[in-house]
Amino acid sequence: MSSLDIVGPQLAVLVAAGVVILIDALVPQQRRLLPYVALVGLAASAAWTTVWVARDDWQTAFGGTLALDQYSTFFYYLFAGITATVVLASIDWVNREGRGQGEYYALILTSCAGLMFLAAARDLITIFIALELSSIPQYILAGWGKDERSSEAGLKYLLLGAIASALLLYGMALLYGATGTTLLSEIRAAIEAGGEANRSLLVLAATLLIAGFGFKMAVVPFQMWVPDVYQGAPTPVAAYLSVGSKAAAFAVVTRIFFEALGARFLSDDWSNIFAVLAAVSMTLGNVMAIVQTDIKRMLGYSSIAQAGTFMIGLAAISASGHEFTLGASGVLLFLAAYAFTNLGAFVAVIAISQKIGSDQIKDYAGMWRRSPVLTVALSFCLVSLSGIPPTVGFWAKLYVFNAGIRADLAWLVIVGVLNSVISAYYYLGVARQMFVGEPESTEPVRTSPSLGLSLGVATLGVLVFGILPMPLISAAKDAAVIFGQH
């Protein structure tokens, strides 16, 4: 029973998914309630998490394969919030689409439960299963739209995802071969006991792990699917992929590398791999984003660049002493900041494209006169993405850069700073279009209450945490405590 209590937050979400399906099948005339049932489930999950946080009683379940710790609860909140925002942002679109409403929400909730399991998993096999639990609904959702583009997106995502899973499994098998266990804590002990003997095998295994997760994190060179899928998938789903799936992948990579593979003699290797990937992702993502004319593709490339910036935090794994966890907490802070910011941007894009029926950046011209509120909200999100104060994105970047400097990665931080300048060009380019361009029509763009609410929450998060970032920073620091000192 206590094991079930420990996975309560996930169970709440899964139960909500079941209820959604049942309502859809048994009382179809009540379909409009579906998203609210989903929201109640997510709220219940967050409440359950809060109970555990209040108990301050951290433990593991199912033979140590799932952990209930400060780290996983941080992500429970994050994923519940992300999913709730996406559900709110989906309502209009799903109603218009008509078919399969129950399945849509049930799939999102199932995927969310998978993400939560990923954040809690401390065992290679559990990690893999949780990853598939979260991914398979995503493949379906990406192909949910009726048009060819969406089908292509779904198929592409599925095929490349399968390859990534294969790489991941291969890496896990090698890691098991080298250490004889699948539990992260025991892997660490085995590595430290074995010393340098298995070094090359470990490096190979870790490289395969990075490749497998790199697909979900959407970093170069595993990023090919991103622009096509973001453009083709329904926009709420693209928002979910860009934030939820990416955050989960970073969550699990951070846990694996800081907890299992953080041994001193290896961390310099990881650090180098991550540093190179970070530099390449930031640069390539930003350069490609500049030339995009479709805002969803642009956000796709920007998410690649952003992932590169998070990765500076992973590269900071080579820092020692009390600064060891700085990189991990930086990743967490950045993920939370990015969740607010990118969701806000995507919701604004959903609201605008619903009205104007286009995702072309040039059609955003003069949006200020058609909807000042949407324009200001989207602009703040874009400003936050480029890391300019007073937004939460600035603190996240600053924190991660600090972690990089403490880990003697000054060159990487300089690359990061230069990339911020490049990114400002295209992010602010969209803002400029909206403020000073000439609109094609002056018809106002109105938002539905559900979109307005989700956009309001996201933008408020961007601004409030932009001025008073301490609560978010403390939460990220507390979550990273589990990695301890080395």
């Binding site: 907490s329 930086g330 104060p389 600053l398 600090n402 400097i405 403020f435 000073v436």
Partner: protein
């Protein structure tokens, strides 16, 4: 507490303006005027309440704000004799720019809100004592500036606004790296503590590099040749009030930043680069003056003359003497007022003629005697007529720098001679000469707000020209404590 109120007063007024309902849009200007007047009154009170006998910063507030992992960032404000006059200059020019904006009719609420937020950000830069807070205010200024130029500007306004933002961001990216490296080495962002830290020998980069990184950020703003090309574009396409703020106070953020941070925190590196400052300063003076001679657009002419005048500031900073640094600060004040007045006059003229082409103007003295008086006065002040503010500033800088960099002073003096050339030539072509009848129906300066701006600015230019002790009494002790650090 006083400073918190002062810095955020304009922002609070901006919120009020935005909250006005659509039908009372006409009230926006009065709310903005009231807010900026209140800030001006408070800053004047602080100016006279300031204790000249005390060393260090006054009215300081200090609160923990953000802990970014290894050290604290604080909400820390304070003023000394160096920043206080610049604060008053800012509040004064904010009132002036609100007044000259009374003729703006397009989207007034957003316009005044942006103008007031701009004022808050500049006040924040001048009072912040935490380096990161300083940087935040520095960046905050970009938003209102971009909107003000891009929406209410003229000509290639979008291009100019974007260019302005990109130049500043590129410069401030370097600045941020410099700030972080300094802070990582000293484990603090506190500007006062950084100033007392001594050499930064264990930093990631050597002190000379850190200094350069910071300097690039400030130099773009100042601006120095060759980083100045955004300035004429921004000026010529910005609305009048924004030109006043830009020339009047935004450029001063650059000079202030160099003195407050570069020189104070790394006096050793400043001393090493000193000769470069003098050389770049003299080059800016001369180059700016020559380019100014060739301008055919009134606003660009004033803009390029700013490049030349700010070069003198850099020369004064480079000489690192007590008199030269005080002179440099005084020149910032004088230039802020004089160039502000010049832009106001050009703006009033443009509002009537709708052209800034010098060749299309001429003989306006007959049709607009009052505006002519104003522009002639401002022109004379700009070329350094004795008994006006600019003269005191330039003489102090030249005297203070002569001993160390004789050649740079001589070059700069030649630049000042050229300034007499371009100003007088401009006056001759624009307000004197044969009357053009196409301008016959235009009326002269006529509204109370126009009169009050011109008279107010002119009065201050005279006041600073005849009673410099008003500022120097407060300024000199602060400068001396910086110079002492350079000497040791």
């Amino acid at each position: 507490m006083e400073l918190t109120v002062l810095v955020f007063l304009p922002a609070a007024a901006a919120v009020l303006v935005l909250l006005l309902p659509q039908r009372s849009e006409a009230l926006a200007k009065y709310v903005a005027l009231a807010g900026s007047l209140a800030a001006l009154a408070l800053s004047i009170y602080l100016f006279f309440d300031f204790d000249m006998g005390r060393e260090g910063f006054q009215y300081a507030v200090k609160k923990d704000w953000v802990d970014i992992g290894s050290f604290n960032l604080q909400y820390h404000l304070g003023v000394d004799g160096l920043s206080l006059p610049l604060v008053v200059l800012t509040t004064f020019l904010t009132v002036a720019s609100v007044l000259v904006s009374f003729s703006v009719t397009q989207r007034q609420r957003a316009y005044y809100a942006a103008l007031l937020v701009l004022s808050t950000s500049v006040l924040g830069v001048f009072t912040a004592l935490d380096f990161l807070l300083f940087f935040l205010f520095w960046e905050l200024e970009l938003f209102p500036m971009f909107l003000l130029i891009a929406i209410w500007g003229s000509g290639r306004k979008e291009y100019s606004a974007t260019k302005f933002v990109l130049y500043t961001i590129a410069g401030s990216a370097f600045m941020l790296v410099g700030i972080l490296v300094l802070a990582f080495s000293a484990d603090t962002f506190n500007i006062v503590d950084l100033g007392q830290h001594g050499a930064f020998s264990d930093a990631l980069f050597s002190e000379r590099w850190i200094f350069l990184f910071l300097f690039v950020g400030f130099a773009v703003k100042l601006p120095i040749v060759p980083l100045h090309t955004w300035l004429p574009d921004a000026h010529s396409d910005a609305p009048t009030a924004v030109s006043v703020m830009l020339a009047g106070v935004l450029l001063k953020m650059g000079g202030y930043g160099i003195i407050r941070t570069c020189v104070t925190i790394m006096p050793g590196a400043a001393d090493e680069y000193s000769i470069w400052f003098a050389a770049i300063g003299a080059a800016s003076v001369l180059y700016g003056a020559f380019i100014t001679l060739r301008q055919t657009d009134l606003k660009r002419l004033v803009a390029y003359s700013s490049v030349s005048h700010m070069g003198i500031v850099l020369l004064g900073i480079g000489a690192l003497g007590s008199a030269s640094l005080a002179g440099a600060t005084y020149q910032m004040l004088a230039h802020g007022l004089i160039t502000g007045l010049l832009f106001v006059m050009v703006g009033l003229m443009y509002e009537r003629t709708h052209t800034r082409e010098i060749s299309r103007l001429g003989g306006l003295a007959r049709q607009m005697p009052l505006i002519t008086t104003g522009i002639v006065f401002a022109g004379f002040a700009s070329l350094g007529l004795p008994a006006l503010a600019g003269f005191i500033a330039e003489v102090t800088i030249f005297l203070g720098s002569f001993q160390r960099y004789e050649w740079a002073v001589l070059i700069s003096i030649f630049g000042v001679v050229l300034s007499a050339g371009y100003i007088l030539w401009m006056l001759q072509r624009v307000v004197f000469g044969p009357v053009r009848h196409e301008w016959d129906d235009l009326h002269d300066q006529q509204h109370w707000w126009e009169h009050s701006v011109v008279v107010g600015l002119a009065a201050l230019v005279v006041l600073l020209g005849v009673y410099p002790a008003l500022v120097f009494d407060r300024l000199q002790p602060a400068i001396d404590s910086i110079v002492m650090r350079v000497g040791s």
